[in-house]
Symmetry: C2
Subunit: 360 residues, 2 copies
């Protein structure tokens, strides 16, 4: 006999659709391995929802994915409907709400759902990087998991929480957690100009449509704040200062104008690379979190530093603690991508479902 | 309101005592964070048990640790008693049985406890590396966790299980999982003779009292089998051939005689190191697990291989899968030590306790 777990998924973009496919493909194996069966109660996006009040059948889910692929809203689907608020779809017994949107303003609704006994799994960083009050409400009684927000499918949050649960004490997290910025560092060290490297990365789809969304460091800063708050450091976002790669006069122009003016930055980065090389050091975009404070920016690292060996788009997380003091605990690998991000969310769903059904 | 979780701990050696200290220190934080309270129902060793039928109080536990430090059996303690079988101490409702012994023959009792609805957490590798039938019974319904058996406190088993749960497919695990043998590889590359390196490692306490227990590769082979079985590969131990560091004629002599004769091996290892260097390769003791088969032994690796960067006693686990195909997922850090091993067990206890109480 297996127990039923209902999922309410917010967001049906690339990660959301990959997640649906993983859930459908693994349902039988999970039932056998853990004794629970995952069912979709609803799929929700900005344009509406698919919700019947019962478990959605495979055909309905498949149709919804096709509708989304063709860039129509879910409300356009047979059985789909417009929606003011996804909270009206919540069942009375505990379900798992999955936020794989990139939307702002989700935190209030999610925190209320947590207070009502539901569980939450996030790939969306925003609900965790608003005010500390919102973070605290959302993570009350450990009801929310968010592995995919920092390292996609890499075991980062779970590792940190396990260390701290057992009484280990954080000395320092050092991390390279932007594949895009990691690629730029490698390209600069290979002698490319910054403008050429940014152009290549953009044309390969490794940057956001506006590369300044990566180059601002804002995404890394949000990840650093999530690591800090997970470590029990009660900080606001302003406590994590970051260094953008571009000067402020390039912040408010159009994307095309920005791309045209990137060569203005080339000389500065050439000098930084030459200086690092002269010091026998490597240039990396590093987030550092310690109990005393955090920083995010370009750093010169000695060749024996764990982050110095990093090449290309890989992410790396180095945890130095009371117990891992001489040699850190290091996790490394691709930290972005639709499939691995969905797998990170999936891992959190399984862990949550095991909790909801574990007293078998 | 918190719920009570009872622990029955088998083994009160170094790891066992460190674990008791961690449980006692973290009890209040876990109650606040997860809503459960851990209680020791019994501490058991070969010499007897401390068991009152209720939660052991802190004073009784403290006294038991002192008794053990002074190398007396638990039966010698006030409240302690001799014991034929720890299974007579099991309560009727689900508890967590922790095996931090290195004892053989535990698998039958543990599997029976699992069948009766109890959960198991292991640092002891032996129950997992007996027959496949025993492994299957013990891990039925995912009732047994065993993170500490392979990487001590490193997230290895959980990472592998999460990948596979989400439908990722294993291509290859490559791992260096003996700190002792890793140290020997580094020392050989630094120009030391094997006999000198073994002597140093032994005098620093980095080897077992009989260094052949490390040099046989048997411990690495058991870990490789656990990784394979966790990956769903239904192998017996004989499917994982290993290469000992010493010739068979040195297998059955006394430890002192063995230590005296280690210089006989020096020339062979000098040649291996020289050959690797001539090929611009690194010498590492590597376990490889693929769906097609496994091997454990000294390998020459190109400098760009993830394991080539490893120095000293660190462990490293590299997972190449369907989704992590171009760049592997890598976990690295100290893979032995009393405190980090106890922390690995502790993480499994917390995950299990969250399951047993998670439908709050």
């Amino acid at each position: 006999m297996t127990r039923e777990i209902f999922l309410l998924q917010l967001g049906t973009g690339g990660v959301g659709r990959a997640l649906v496919a993983q859930v459908q493909a693994q349902r039988a194996l999970l039932a056998e391995r853990y004794g629970f069966t995952l069912h979709y109660l609803a799929l929700v996006d900005r344009g509406g929802a698919v919700h019947t009040g019962q478990a959605l059948d495979d055909q309905t889910i498949q149709t919804a994915l096709v509708v989304k692929e063709s860039r129509q809203p879910l409300a356009a689907l047979a059985g789909g409907r417009a929606l003011d608020d996804w909270r009206t779809l919540l069942p009375t017994s505990a379900c798992i709400i999955i936020d794989v949107t990139a939307a702002a303003g989700m935190e209030t609704g999610l925190a209320e759902a947590v207070a009502a006994g539901h569980r939450v799994v996030l790939a969306n960083k925003r609900p965790l990087t608003g005010t500390l009050t919102d973070f605290t409400r959302l993570t009350a009684r450990s009801a929310t998991r968010y592995e995919a927000t920092v390292g996609a499918g890499l075991p980062v949050i779970a590792t940190l929480q396990t260390l701290l649960d057992s009484g280990d004490t954080l000395s320092r997290i050092e991390a390279s957690m932007s594949g895009t910025l990691g690629y730029l560092c490698s390209a600069l060290e290979d002698g490319q100009s910054l403008s050429a490297a940014v152009g290549t990365a953009r044309s390969r789809g490794w940057t956001e449509p506006d590369p300044r969304d990566d180059l601002s460091g804002a995404d890394v800063t949000r990840k650093a704040l999530i690591l800090a708050r997970t470590s029990g450091l009660n900080w606001e976002l302003s406590a994590v200062p970051s260094e953008p790669w571009f000067p402020s006069e390039l912040a408010d122009i159009t994307v095309d104008a920005f791309m045209e003016r990137t060569p203005e930055m080339d000389r500065h980065y050439q000098e930084l690379v030459a200086q690092a090389r002269a010091n026998n050091r490597r240039l990396r975009y590093v987030a550092t979190v310690t109990p005393e404070g955090a920083s995010v920016g370009l750093r010169e690292l000695p060749p024996e530093h764990p982050l110095a060996a990093l090449r290309g788009t890989d992410n790396l997380f180095s945890f130095t603690t009371g117990r891992y003091s001489e040699q850190p605990l290091v996790v490394r690998g691709p930290g972005a991508g639709v499939e691995v991000t969905a797998a990170g969310v999936f891992g959190d769903i399984v862990a949550t479902a095991r909790e909801l059904t574990g007293d078998r």
